[in-house]
């Protein structure tokens, strides 16, 4: 071997991969944060339901807390369960 890689410092950026560009509740882009947050990213994460719909965590929590009887996904009306 003429040359050998001893070590490598890789740099990568991350983005959310969601099935939509915007959050169905607040209509803001997933790239950005929910209306209550100032900074996107770790502070304002996304969550997926088992129905495969995706929202800002803060948005869906607000929605679920406001539901009195059954907790449904606002998009498909199926019962909301967090995807593991």
């Amino acid at each position: 071997m003429k040359v050998k890689i001893k070590s490598w410092v890789g740099v990568a950026t991350w983005r959310w991969v969601a099935n939509d560009d915007t959050c169905g509740i607040c209509r803001l882009a997933f790239e950005n944060c929910c209306p209550d947050c100032k900074l996107p990213g770790d502070d304002c994460p996304l969550v997926w339901g088992q129905c495969s719909h995706c929202y800002h965590m803060h948005c869906i929590m607000k929605w679920l807390n406001s539901q009195q009887v059954r907790q449904l996904c606002p998009m498909c009306r199926q019962e909301w369960k967090f995807k593991e």
Binding site: M1, K2, V3, K4, I5, K6, S7, W8, V9, G10, V11, A12, T13, W14, R15, W16, V17, A18, E31, N32, K38, L39, P40, G41, D42, L46, W48, C54, K83
Partner: protein
Amino acid sequence: MSLKPKEMNFSDTWGDLQKTVHGVITLSNIPRYVWQDRFADVYQLCVAYPESLADKLYIETKNFLDNHVKGLLEHLSTLSHDNIIYNYYECWRRYNKGIIYLHELYSYLNNQHIRKNKLSEAELIYGNHPIDDLEQMEIGELGLEIWKKNMIEPLQGSLVSAILECINQDRNNNGHLINAEVVRGVIESFVAVNKFKKRNNIELYRTLLEKPLVAASGEYFRSQADIWFQNCTITQYMERVIKLFEEESVRCQRFLHSSSHAIMKQCCEKYMVEDYLCALYNEAKSIISQERQQDMANMYILLRSVSKNLIPYMTEFKDHIIEEGLQRLNEIKGDNMCMSFVEIIMSIYRKYKEMIEKIFQSDKNFTSALDKACISIVNYSPDNKSYKSSELLAKYCDQLLKKSSKGLSEMEVDEKLTDAIIIFKYLDDKDMFQKFYSRMLAKRLIHQNSQSMDAEESMIDKLKTACGYEFTNKLHRMFTDMKISEDLTEKFNSQYLPDKRVVLSLNFHVHILQAGSWPLGQTNITSFTIPQEFTQSMQAFEKFYNCQYNGRRLTWMYHLSQGELKLCYLNKVHLITMQTFQMAILLLFENTLTMTCSEIVNTLQLNWDQFLKNCVTLVECKILLANTKELENDTVLSLNEKYYNKRTRLRITASLQKETPMETTQTITSVEEDRKLFIQATIVRIMKSRKLLKHNALIQEILSQCITFNPSISMIKKCIETLIEKQYMERARNSRDEYSYIA
């Protein structure tokens, strides 16, 4: 002695009493028993039966005093006129003392008879009783009143002119007046004769003495000022005036009533400063430009009492600082511009700050003049490159925080960064600085080029203190990403890999950055076929990352990644830190000795610009040899098998990590974009709450909300146009310069 009222023979009793009264007023020796008898007599007269003789006693006493003072006046007029104030003073001293005793002797009359009939203070102030001249006065007051009528009034002309003469002498003798006590005594007598009055008790002093004195002094100051101004340099003039101020102030203390001090000071200033303001201002320029410190201090003393007088002087001072600053900034040359930029500004700042403390007694007005001057200097842009200062300042910080800063101790670095903050506060384009700073910080972090994380964090804290959390939260975010990345690397290498029984071929680290928080130019991203040597590690890590976080996709930034490559084909082993692209290029030579540029570009799918940048470095440091001077498509590259460097470990990344001019322009345009968005958002916010707003009011509101930069009016107008086009707002229909919000 009985206290019972009884019949009294007035003339007998008064005969005895009168002798004693004469004794008291001339301060002769009066035996105690006589005093007590006479004291009782006063009582008996007042309570006499069948009717009180108090009024009679009062009238007789008044007549007696009247005659006594007239006698004194006559006596005075026989004495030499030259010594009038001395003689007057002697008489006054004795009389004043005597009258105090007499007041005591007549205590009963005063307390029981006169005071009862007197109007109370409340009646005097609120009631509309005309002040009755015939009202009886207490004996002390009566005595002083008589003195005023019979002594001061006839003598006032000669007394006052004598006093003025004395004060004049005092001025000419540098304050060595022999009979200072006498003069003061006489002046005090003018105040003292009215001491029983409840109101206007310095009125007499005012009209009698103060007015003529101020007039005479004014004349004296005017002529002195005139003479001095004709014959002296400005330096001497100011020195003399200040000396005169001091002397006059001492003179006031020595002779005059405290109410006059301020008036005399004003009088001095009027004739010696106000009248010469223009002349002083004319000289101010040369005094300041030559930095004659004593003169500067003196001029400040002369001007300070009227703050509006200081304004032209301060302006002159400010202009001088600006002139010096700009001149020195224009002289900056060479490649270490940022260092000299900061050093020059700081040296000016320090110099004048010290000057203000020393010369201008830390006057707030001058401090703000210095601030204004510094703002002009810091934001000075010779050829409309308004970003220049922000860039220089950010570069200055970068140099300090980078590795390899010239052996400065942590303390020194910290001090220099504090300097940077001082300048930062003067900066208009704080957002521009932030952009430059965050780019440079990103590079330092990603390329592991920071001298110390503590220094980095303390600098960010300083910025936060100076400009608030909003301003630095992206910078903080970058730090958090670095910490998270470190943890991830650790977890990946020490838990995930052993668990999965995977052994990587290389030592693997990552920096995982959150896309929005880092100022990473999009333009540098290029297609690239990553050599398979890397793929194993990358794939393993991506798997690991997906277990850690749901719903995130990683994009590798090859142009930011770097690694260490071991060169084994030489006599001596070298470990070279280089960019990923460079590693990829060298890996291609595994099975061959020569390759053309186009072959490399095709294999790696690199764009030509990136290839050129990376490859040129390899050629320049002689790891690769090229057969043409410039790299062309068909240039043949070959491994330099005789490569030698005395160091085993080295980096060749430095030149690639430098800020390029293109990046600078990118930064500038991105700042401008951000500004436009900020202004638009501000406008919408304002309009949303106001619904209807006049143009000028809107502009004012916008300006007040832009803290980190000063938007130009034309930029604001453009933003308004854009928003009208986008139908966020419209021009109000029935008004020309009003906008209304469209919901």
